[in-house]
């Protein structure tokens, strides 16, 4: 898998637990121990109550489609061979929104609200990308 040419996650210490969990097939978001707010991406303090007492909490992996686009132009060399490719925005059952890709078959014009569930695709030895499969 050393030939993977698409962009990889950056070395952001705040995001490290997200990627460790993803490699273990767990989708997670940052959660506030004080007020319970669940948010993504993570921050140094809770955006709702400013508490520093944050943890990573597994979520169900169930989501609903918000919107999607189809790239007909590649802005990274690693995507050139995949054009046109789709990117979707999903709303997790727990609230936060995530940018991702569809996994598996997709109808011609998927509508907002289409139910989805997370799957993980190993792209390197250390990184698994969460993607979303349409629930039949």
């Amino acid at each position: 898998m050393s030939a993977y040419r698409k962009p990889l996650p950056t070395d952001d210490p705040l995001m490290a637990p997200f990627w460790q969990n993803a490699k273990a097939r767990r989708l997670s978001v940052q959660s506030c121990r004080d007020c319970g707010d669940k948010h993504f991406p993570p921050g140094p303090v809770c955006p709702k109550c400013l508490s520093e007492d944050q943890e990573w909490e597994p979520v169900s992996g169930r989501a609903a489609l918000v919107s999607w686009v189809r790239f007909h132009r590649a802005y990274w060399d690693g995507f050139v061979g995949e054009v046109p490719y789709d990117v979707c925005l999903v709303a997790l059952e727990e609230g936060p929104l995530l940018v991702s890709n569809f996994s598996g078959p997709v109808p011609d014009d998927p509508k907002a609200g289409t139910p989805l569930e997370v799957v993980f695709e190993d792209v390197t030895d250390t990184v698994a990308l969460p993607k979303f499969r349409i629930v039949a």
Binding site: K6, P7, L8, P9, T10, D12, M15, H39, F40, P41, P47, V66, S67, W68, V69, R70, F71, H72, R73, A74, Y75, W76, F79, E82, P84, Y85, V87, L89, P96, L97, L98, V99, S100, N101, K111, A112, V123, V127, L129, K131
Partner: protein, 386 residues
């Protein structure tokens, strides 16, 4: 709230030669760097105002040039100085004037983005390290400005019935305006069928939904209202009101963009600017809207009260946003067809429409022009008028 109502007026505007410079850039030449474009525009603006450099005591430069260097290039030692985007430069100038820190402020912008091959998507995207969304979204291939607006328009279309063909009204109307503007880069008229047949870049957005990328410079001279009457060669164009409201919470995961279409920011900003100016959308003779992508226009028309919420597709198609229709929008051609000067050329077009200087594209009896932008949830609004 009177705020900044009538505090200042625009007395001079200047632009570089977009058409001539673009032809030279495409031929491989480099007419100017960003400072050079800024200098050309500044000289034209003080000439237009009929003032000398010594009348100026404030300097605000755009984000693509260095403040100190522009001050050095133009020989300006101001009592107030700063750096802002186009819309905030106008507001900051009014604030400096209101507070007595300056009386006559030059706003100066130059950008060699085309000849310098500035990228707005992908690994070399300008500001990519600062915009968190690029960092977080890159592994899934979501790394262009246009894709953010495509994502937004798809959902808006699904919820409101504003179709791709409805959206095409924007590109067609602005190209018509550009065809009547000798200073515009893209002057060949297009039809809705041309629009629908144009290729997708990031669906649902087509090629014609994307702004141009070109070099250029823009300058405006904003002067205290009484001083303006004394020194300006032409009738000053008043700044009647300004507004601003930003939505930052949840920005990286696109919540304000995709769930709200920035509507709460636009509505708060609209209330501020209309209250300050004492006029409303029904009083506007033309509207200028920041259009890095065409879909800014339907979002803004609903958000600023130009049509009923959810009705903008029908409004654009049946009542019309072209010159000669119900509400002329981006009367110089905007970023799609005139020039991509990141909101700066919209201010110039607003001033020239109020002055009645626009020739074949002039809006008849133009008394008030409303500018607004909602770039990444930062809603800013300015009302110019007689």
């Amino acid at each position: 709230m009177n705020g900044l109502k009538g505090v200042a007026a625009v007395i001079g505007v200047g632009e570089s030669d977009y058409v001539g410079d673009h032809a030279r850039v495409r031929a491989g030449e480099k007419p100017h760097d960003s400072n050079g474009y800024a200098a050309v525009a500044f000289k034209r603006a003080i000439e237009d105002a009929g003032i000398s450099r010594d009348d100026i005591d404030g300097l605000i430069v755009g984000p693509t040039v260095a403040y100190e260097r522009i001050g050095e290039v133009l020989g300006i030692n101001p009592t107030w100085g700063g750096q802002q985007d186009a819309m905030l430069a106008v507001i900051e100038a009014c604030m400096a004037i209101k507070s007595g820190l300056a009386t006559c402020v030059a706003l100066v912008y130059g950008n060699d983005q085309r000849s310098a091959a500035v990228q707005y998507g992908g690994p070399e995207a300008m500001g990519g390290n600062m915009f968190l969304s690029y960092v977080y979204h890159a592994p899934w291939g979501f790394t262009s400005q246009g894709s953010l607006y495509a994502m937004m328009f798809r959902r808006f279309s699904e919820l409101t019935g504003c179709t791709e063909r409805h959206l095409g009204e924007v590109a067609v109307a602005q190209r018509l305006a550009a065809s009547l503007n000798p200073g515009a880069l893209m002057r060949k008229p297009i039809t809705l069928d041309d629009y629908m047949a144009s290729p997708y870049i990031c669906a649902p957005l087509h090629l014609f939904d994307y702004c141009l990328i070109n070099d250029g410079g823009v300058a405006l001279i904003v002067c205290e209202a009484e001083k303006a009457k004394r020194i300006a060669a032409k009738k000053p164009v008043a700044i009647h009101g300004v507004g601003r409201f930003d939505l930052n919470r949840g920005a990286t995961s696109l919540e304000p963009r995709l769930l709200d279409f920035y509507r709460p920011a636009q509505e708060a900003c609209a209330k501020q600017v209309y209250d300050m100016a004492g006029v409303g959308p029904e009083d506007m003779d033309a509207v200028q809207i920041y259009d890095s992508f065409s879909c800014h226009i339907p979002f803004a028309l609903e958000g600023y009260g130009y049509c009923r919420s959810g009705d903008v597709g029908r409004f654009m198609a049946e009542e019309g946003i072209a010159l000669g229709r119900k509400l002329p929008v981006n009367t110089g051609g905007g970023h799609l067809s005139h020039s991509y000067m990141q909101g700066w050329n919209h201010q110039v077009e607003a001033v020239r429409q109020v002055r009645g200087e626009c020739g074949a594209r002039q809006v008849e009896d133009c008394r008030f022009v409303h500018y607004n932008s909602d770039v990444a949830g930062k809603a800013v609004s300015i009302i110019y008028g007689v």
